[in-house]
Symmetry: C2
Subunit: 223 residues, 2 copies
DNA sequence: AATATTTATTAGGCGAACCTAACTTATTAT
DNA sequence: ATAATAAGTTAGGTTCGCCTAATAAATATT
């Protein structure tokens, strides 16, 4: 009863999960998934056939892709592994936010139940990863929030930057001009009623940013 | 200049290193390597062709296999990674002696220089793994401890276990069932002429083991 | 030296995962 | 409703790593 999947099958399942379930779309198309995985639509088509025959994905010819509950269960465990590894790399091996993902992408495929169980204990059963994303528990439950965008932070509260939504050069230039980097601590001083802009305290400096800007910066609340 | 090898190429190189250099044979044959890797001689032949073209193995048609110094360098780093991971699993994740190998066999293929550098620091730059085998340093140096195997110990002499051959799970399970671990003291009571088996005194308990078993346990003589 | 045995290589094929190019079906715009 | 575009599928080909069966070379035995 213990299905063993290849690294590739796992990556497809996880990607499909993230663009359907995690983003609340429920379904996705071949091209979307192909784009996400940097692979041709034809390749996705072939893999989907296989996953369908393994009862992990459900869809009909020319129809949208959906995951079966078994498929979701497997995908969630991959997400769990990925985020536990990111946490380990970040907390114990001095990796920075932007370095953890690539390595976790490999580590998530290591086959060993004991490994992930013990890693979780070692890390103290963490509930979110270095990007502020929630870590599912052994049974697959996980809170859908934890990661917020800067615009959602209330007046007077502090947070640290964990990632950015938009990676365009224009946006990133603006980000760095403000002295914002990953791990930067930001205190939200005011929400301005007129245009919903925010006054931020970054280090000693105050900056005013638009709502649109704030929505593109992901943060983790300080507790 | 930075060669990227597949998991399989890596496994072939490491195995070849271990049956040639680590056992002082210097060379090996196709069949030997095939046996070691649980693969057909034909498969070894194909892979050797590729490794030869990459200048990692040197040999002529129908000749014995030898590694180039570049091949050895890569293999040594794989051995290093393998043993560092074993150490991590053993010391931090509550893995037992016989469980570490299988998982390290996967972890050794993770591609990240920073990962192994940081893992080494985290572990405090260890010089031997849970099986007592030496861990090469970043530059590839490592002490080739002269280990004796248990079968070479004379009647009436005592010794302590320093390592075991990285062999099958079955063997390692048998080892731990007898209460043997690193540093375990063993007194060799008798050599039995009939089948070359040995009677050992381990703690208060006497156990009889086969020659084959004794040859797979490495020890250091008591002085 | 001739023969038997072991060891290494080649030939031919298979499955996984990828690709491009051509095609079919579905959706959107006119 | 028709035509244009987008999305999904199929066909045919590549590379990688594996296999078995047949063959060739090296080594050991008589
Ligand atoms: Mn992955
Ligand atoms: Mn993450
Ligand atoms: Mn391996
Ligand atoms: Mn070991």
């Amino acid at each position: 009863m213990d299905i063993v999947l290849s690294k590739n099958e796992e990556d497809y399942l996880k990607a499909l999960f993230q663009i359907t379930v995690e983003s609340n779309m429920g379904v996705a198309g071949t091209n979307q998934l192909a784009l996400n995985l940097c692979v041709s639509p034809a390749s996705v088509n072939g893999m989907i056939k296989k996953l369908r025959s393994k009862k992990l994905v459900k869809s009909e010819r020319y129809g949208k892709l959906e995951m079966t509950s078994q498929g979701k269960t497997i995908a969630i465990q991959l997400v769990r592994k990925h985020r536990l590894w990111e946490t380990f790399l970040y907390q114990y091996l001095d990796f920075s936010w932007d370095e953890v993902h690539e390595v976790a992408e490999q580590l998530e495929h290591i086959k060993s139940d004991k490994l992930i169980k013990q890693l979780n204990s070692f890390l103290g059963n963490p509930d979110s990863d270095p990007h502020g994303d929630p870590i599912p528990d052994e049974t697959g439950n996980f809170s859908k929030k934890s990661k917020k965008n800067l615009a959602q932070i209330e007046e007077g509260k502090s947070c640290t930057v964990v990632s950015v939504k938009d990676a365009s050069v224009a946006f990133l230039q603006m980000v760095s001009k403000l002295g914002i980097g990953l791990q930067t601590e930001i205190m939200v001083k005011n929400h301005h009623e007129f245009d919903a802009s925010r006054t931020l305290l970054i280090g000693e400096q105050e900056h005013q940013v638009s709502l649109k800007f704030a929505e593109n910066v992901f943060v983790k609340e300080r507790v």
